[in-house]
Structure formats: C-alpha cells, structure tokens
C-alpha cells in the first residue's frame, strides 16, 4: 500500500508542480514567445504549416517580442526593472505525518 500512496502523492505533486511551472512560464513571456517561434519553425520543417502561415506567425511573435523589449527598456529608464523571481507553491509533503496529526 505504501507504493500506492507514493503513486498518488507523487502524481499529485507532479500535477501541482507542472501547474506552478505553467504559471511561471506564462509570466515569463519572452521564453514562451521564443518557444512558440521554435515550435513554428519545427512545424514548418515538418510541413505541418505552409511557408506563408509561418511568415505570419513569425511576424506576430517578433512584434510581441519587440513590444516586450521596448516596455522593459522604458521601465528600466523609469525606475529599475521588475522581475519575477518565482512563485511559492507548497504541498503537504508526508502522508504519514498528515494522518498521525490530530486535528487541533
């Protein structure tokens, strides 16, 4: 049964961590855009999108990247950069501890 428990908790932790990472990634726009660009290049290579569609996607992504860079530069000029250092997500780690603890 310990194994089943580990499986469930492990799975739960996995999902939550992924969630945390996803939020993190959304906030970190530049990386997301770069990945989107790479994905578009891959789709073009695999023939999943046409050359014309790729040019469209590329132009849109590059425009957004430029936007971010300009905003960052403006902010840097205004008063120091704003960075996201991380998000706190905590999970009760040990199932044994949870079950043995009496509710207060």
């Amino acid at each position: 049964l310990i194994i089943l428990d580990t499986l469930i908790i492990g799975g739960l932790k996995f999902v939550l961590r992924r969630l945390a990472e996803a939020v993190d990634a959304e906030m970190n726009d530049v990386d997301v855009l770069r990945q989107e660009l790479l994905a578009a290049q891959m789709q073009l290579e695999l023939g999943e999108i046409t050359e014309a569609r790729f040019v469209e996607v590329e132009a849109a992504l590059l425009a957004r990247l430029r936007e971010i860079r300009e905003r960052q530069e403006a902010e840097a000029g205004a008063g120091g950069p704003m960075t996201i250092t991380g998000i706190d997500v905590s999970i009760a780690d040990d199932i044994e501890d949870d079950s043995s603890d009496r509710p207060r």
């Binding site: 932790k13 990945q35 790479l38 994905a39």
Partner: protein
C-alpha cells in the same frame, strides 16, 4: 512430392547437429566471393547439405555461381549433395523481423515511455540503412538452427563492415539490455502490486535477443564451429589491411584458421619486364605476410587468366583451396632487378581533371567494388588537384571504416586534417573515426538528450533509477549505419558550415554496397530528424523545446543542403572506379544504374590497372580487358549515358606516396 524426397539425405553424423560455419573475410576485391562459392561447391559435392550466404549488401555471389539469387535459399545444381545459396536483403529482413514483433515492441515502449502507438509507428516506419550487419547476424542465427545444414559458408562484406558484423552479437545483447531496462519498472510494479509478474511476450523477446547474441558470440569464438579464412592479394595495401583485420579478429578472441594469398602472378611464359617486376614485388609481400602471421597456415593461389565463374571453374578452384600444401607459385624475393616503370616527368599534365573536377566542383566521390583501386585513384586525383590549383584547399577524406588512404599516401593519418609528405601545400588528408565521433557527439548532447528523454520515460517523477538505466542503455547503442551517418556529418562539417575548412573534398568511400547506403543517408537521416521533431513537438508541454529542438532543426537544414549539393552536378561528382575483369564489370553496371536513379552526376568511369604490353600472357590478358572495356562502351551507348572512360596503367608495385601518385596520374588516359 513427399517430404522425404524433397528433403536432402541426412548423414547419420549430420542429423540434428549444429552446422559449422566458414567465413571468408578480407579487403574488397581479393576474391572472397569466388573462394566462398568454390569452397561451398566443393563441400556440397562430398555429399553434404551446404548453405552459402553473402552478407555484403553489394552481392556478387550470383555472378560467381552464374545464377540469379535472392534472399530465399536457391538450390544450385551441384553433382552431389545439396547446395543452397542466399543473397541477404537486409532491408527486407529487418521489415520482416519488425513486422513479427511490432506488437511486442509496442508493449515494451508503452510500459517504459510516454510514447503512444502513433509515435512508435512513426519510429518503426523509419528506414535504417546501416542495419545490414545486424540483419546478417539474425540470418546467420536462423541458419545455425540444428539439422538444416551441415555447414554454412559465409561470403562477408569487405573488412570494415565485417568487423562491425562481428561486434553485432554484443550489440544484440545491448539492445536486449536496453529493452529489459524499459520493462524493469513494469515488472517491479506488477510484482509489488501483488500477484507477481508473469512472463509475457515482451520478456520472451528480450530473452530471445539476449540468447541469440550470446549464442552467436560463442559460435564465432569456437574454433570447432567457426572457421575464418583471411584472403589477401600479394600487394602492400592488402597486407596492411590483413594485419589490421586479423589483429582485430584475434583481439576479439576469434581465431583465423588460414591466410590465403590470392591471384599471385605466375611465372611469365617468356621474358617480360612487367611480370618480373610484379613477381618480385609480390614475393616481398608474400614473405612479409609469412612474417606477419607466423602461426597461421599460409596458402598462395596463382592468378587465373579468366576469373572463375560458373560451377566448372569453381570446382577447379575448390580443389586448389582444399588441396594440401599447394606448390608455392611465388619466386624468391630479391632476384629480379627492380626496374620500376615510373613515368617520366615531362609527360603532359593531367587532361582528365577538367572532366572529373572542373572549377566549382566541391565534392568528388570515388566509389566502386572493393579492391578496384578506389583509394589509389582518389589519392592520385587529390594530389593532382592540389598541384594544378595551388590556391585551393583540397582535403582527401576517407570514410571507409577500413581505411587505406594513409597507406596509399605513405603516411599516418588521423581524424584531423593532416599534412601529406611530398604533396603540394594545399593538400590535407583525414581518416574518419566514426566511433570516436559518435562518442564525442554523445558526450556533447548527453545532458540535453537525457533531460528530454527523462521526461518522456514513464514515471520519472517517482523513481529515476530505472529510467536513468534505460536511457543510458539506449544512448550507449551505436546507431545502425554509424559509419555512413558520420561520413555525412563530416562532409557537412568540412564543406557546408560557415568558413568551411576545405574548398574541395576528394572522398574515398567504402565499397559499393555501403557507399550506396552513404548516398541514401542524408534522406534517411532527415527522416530520423523529422520523427524526433514530431515527437518533441507533440510533447512540448511535458519536455519543453530546448537546445535539442534547435539542434535538430539545424541538422534538418544541413541535411537538405547536402542533398542539394550531392545532386548538383556543378558542385558534386561521383567517379566510378572499376577493374577490367568480369565480376567488377558486372557490379559496375549495377552501380551505374543505381547512381543514375539517385540522380548523382557521374563524369567518368576509371578503368584501373590495365595490363601493359609484355609477354604472351600479358597480351592475352590485355585482349580480355579490351573486350570488357568495349562492352562497357556498348552499354553506355545503349543506355545513353555520357560519362567518359579514363584508363590507368597497372604499376608494379602500385604507386605509394604523393610523388609516385602524381607521376602515375600523369599517365592516365582519357578517351
């Protein structure tokens, strides 16, 4: 027809016993196929059941036996006994092997990874052009089943790829190991979840692979069941390769039973400068061979005026191969004056060069049957090119796993650009080391690949131990077609990267079959890259698109550039080298057809080592050679091909070192 009549008669001793294997190995063109065929005919005609199998992807066993062969055993009409001949088709054998095990492989992948049926199908549909050796071994293992044959004669591929074949049992066991690691967690889980793990098809496949690998590794090392005959010609290059090859066999624990020197020049019927110089040079090599392998019996076979083809001729050769202590046909060394017939320096410069490598051509590939003199012709061309165009940076690159470029240039080469003594300053030479290149590439991308695949391996979140084992196992497997893959990557590196280190590359390839694999490699590798890209894209949310995706994209671009280069006759040329003899001629015919289908530009066919005027026998040989050249011309006309013929004179001993090569190249005669 009753089964009893179809079945060959079984001798009491033969029934149910494992067959004995005899392997004929050696450099390309030394007569492996002919000797293997002769030995098989002789063995069958003692009343036994014999199989003869060719594992060289460019088969000529059918040419030697004068019948059409294929992957299914075909009966050869011997006087007594039973002889069945097989020309292995590795692609079909692999397809069949995979088809039978598809469901099981899918089950293993589903247990061990996140890949689904669609992904797996995508991977199984890929072609693996370098799988010849692995499939040859699977085929041998089928032939090794009890009771079917009493002996199996194996005509192997030229040295480099034969050595790969001999590593294959180990590879098979490692594949089994990697698959086993993928299944390990499944077994552990089913075990711990109660009920215990019950053995299933997946486990049986893994065990069978491992057992086959172990059985074949044992068979190859058992002198009672496997007999290796190493063949060579009485030439320095052939001896150099024999030293490496026999050394590699002995190091792998595989004993060599006999060394055979084939096609030694018999005494001339009259005074003949060519024959005498040749015999003197051969005597040196024969003496050196004896010294090189003091513990292995040596046999010397005289050259025949006609290449033995068909059962009658093979029978005669078989008797020579089996007879005890044949008369030594070679003279003693040092008696004949060493009147080397090197050409004079005032000969006109090479006029054939504009045909082979006009300005603008960046890649000149030399290809042809083993032993026709590809390396010598490629080296002579590279030396000439560097002399004629002093500003050009010329690289002579050998991608044959059994290198002889260094031997021809009379220097030691490595897998970095090296200078060539006596050659113009613009010439560099290099011998590719695919194993080293693979190890380097693996080290460079280990982290990126591990990160990506760790995410694809099932359940890596709660137990990394199994996954890491499975992954390491997979990464340790040298991919099939290793030599061809790295040949392609190296060509890209030296010609297509930014600031390429060479302007022109003269490429010396492995013999025909593997050279054709090399030409197919860019397209095949692009298929692999696409499959990986598709999988990465599909799982991008799980694994992310990192360094690996960017690297794969770059590879795809380079592979497409290379395909464009190869099929552009203004930038790439393929020179076919042949010898004016029956078997090379037939292989050349097939090779030219294949090259045309691959849309590669062939500017010239080099008919190498034409016998000069001399004694009566030389004149007879010349006549036979001229007939073959005339046939080549007729075929060119009927097929409307446009390549020119360049003929080169036989030199005794063959040219060695940059200066001798440059002088020899001046005597090449274009049509």
């Amino acid at each position: 027809v009753s089964a009893a009549r179809r079945r060959p008669r079984r001798t009491a001793a033969g029934a149910g016993e494992e067959p004995r294997f005899s392997f004929f190995a050696g450099k390309g063109g030394v007569g492996k196929t002919t000797c293997a065929a002769a030995a098989a005919v002789a063995a069958a005609e003692t009343g036994r059941r014999i199989a003869v199998v060719s594992t060289d992807p460019a088969h000529s066993l059918g040419d030697a036996l004068a019948c059409t062969l294929g992957p299914a055993p075909r009966r050869v009409p011997t006087r007594a006994g039973v002889l069945e001949a097989i020309e292995l088709d590795a692609d079909r054998a692999l397809a069949r092997w995979l088809a039978q095990r598809r469901a099981t492989l899918r089950a293993i992948a589903a247990r061990g990874t996140y890949l689904d049926d669609e992904d797996l199908e995508r991977l199984l549909r890929l072609s693996f052009p370098g799988v010849d050796e692995l499939m040859a071994l699977v085929e041998l293992s089928r032939l090794a089943d009890r009771g079917r044959y009493e002996a199996v004669v194996v005509d192997t591929a030229p040295t480099g790829h034969t050595l790969r074949l001999l590593q294959m049992p180990e590879t098979m066991r490692r594949i089994a190991g990697a698959l086993d690691d993928l299944s390990a967690k499944h077994r552990f889980l089913t075990d711990s979840l109660g009920g215990g793990h019950r053995e299933d098809a997946a486990d049986r496949l893994i065990q069978a692979l491992d057992a086959d690998g172990r059985r074949l590794a044992g068979l190859l090392r058992d002198p009672a069941r496997a007999r290796f005959t190493w063949l060579l010609l009485p030439e320095r290059l052939s001896l150099d390769e024999a030293r490496d090859g026999v050394g590699a066999l002995v190091a792998a624990g595989i004993p060599v039973a006999e060394v055979v020197i084939n096609r030694a020049t018999p005494a001339a019927p009259g005074p003949c400068a060519h024959c005498e110089v040749r015999r003197a040079a051969e005597a040196d090599v024969i003496a050196a061979t004896r010294a090189a392998f003091p513990k292995i019996p040596l046999r010397v076979l005289p050259g025949l005026e006609r290449e033995p083809s068909g059962l009658v001729a093979l029978r005669r050769l078989g008797r020579r191969l089996a007879g005890d202590s044949p008369p030594d046909v070679a003279p003693h060394a040092g008696r004949v004056s060493r009147a080397r017939r090197l050409p004079r320096k005032d000969l006109p410069p090479a006029s054939w060069l504009d045909r082979v490598a006009p300005v603008g051509v960046r890649l000149v590939v030399f290809t042809g049957k083993g032993g026709v003199g590809k390396t010598t012709c490629a080296a002579a061309t590279a030396v000439t090119l560097a002399a004629v165009r002093p500003q050009a940076r010329v690289l002579a690159l050998s991608v044959d796993p059994a290198h002889s470029l260094g031997d021809v240039l009379d220097t030691t080469l490595a897998d970095t650009d090296g200078e060539v003594p006596g050659a113009p300053a613009g010439l560099r030479a290099r011998e590719l080391d695919a194993d080293r290149a693979f190890a380097e590439l693996r080290a460079r991308y280990q982290d990126a690949v591990e990160r990506t695949f760790a995410a694809l391996l099932r359940g890596s979140r709660f137990d990394v131990a199994y996954d890491r084992e499975a992954l390491r196992g997979l990464m340790d497997l040298a991919p099939p077609g290793l030599d061809e893959l790295f040949a392609v990557l190296t060509i890209v590196e030296v010609l297509l990267e930014q600031d390429p280190p060479a302007d022109v590359v003269v490429l010396d390839t492995a013999p025909t079959g593997h050279a054709l694999r090399l030409f197919q490699m860019p397209a095949t590798a692009l298929g692999w890259v696409h499959a990986l890209l598709a999988i990465l894209l599909k799982y991008r949310d799980v694994v992310g698109l990192g360094e690996l995706a960017a690297e794969l994209l770059a590879s795809a671009r380079r592979l497409r550039e290379l395909t464009a280069l190869l099929t552009d006759d203004a930038r790439a040329r393929v020179v076919v080298v042949t010898r004016p003899a029956e078997l090379p001629d037939r292989e050349t015919e097939r090779l030219l057809d294949r090259l045309r289908r691959l849309r590669l530009a062939v500017p010239a066919v080099v008919v190498n080592a034409v016998t000069p005027e001399g004694c009566r026998r030389c004149i007879r040989l010349r006549r036979v050679e001229q007939r073959l050249v005339a046939r080549l011309c007729r075929r060119r006309a009927t097929r409307r091909q446009r390549w020119g013929i360049i003929s080169t004179p036989a030199l005794a001993p063959p040219p060695r070192g940059a200066r001798a090569l440059a002088l020899w190249a001046r005597t090449w005669k274009p049509e």
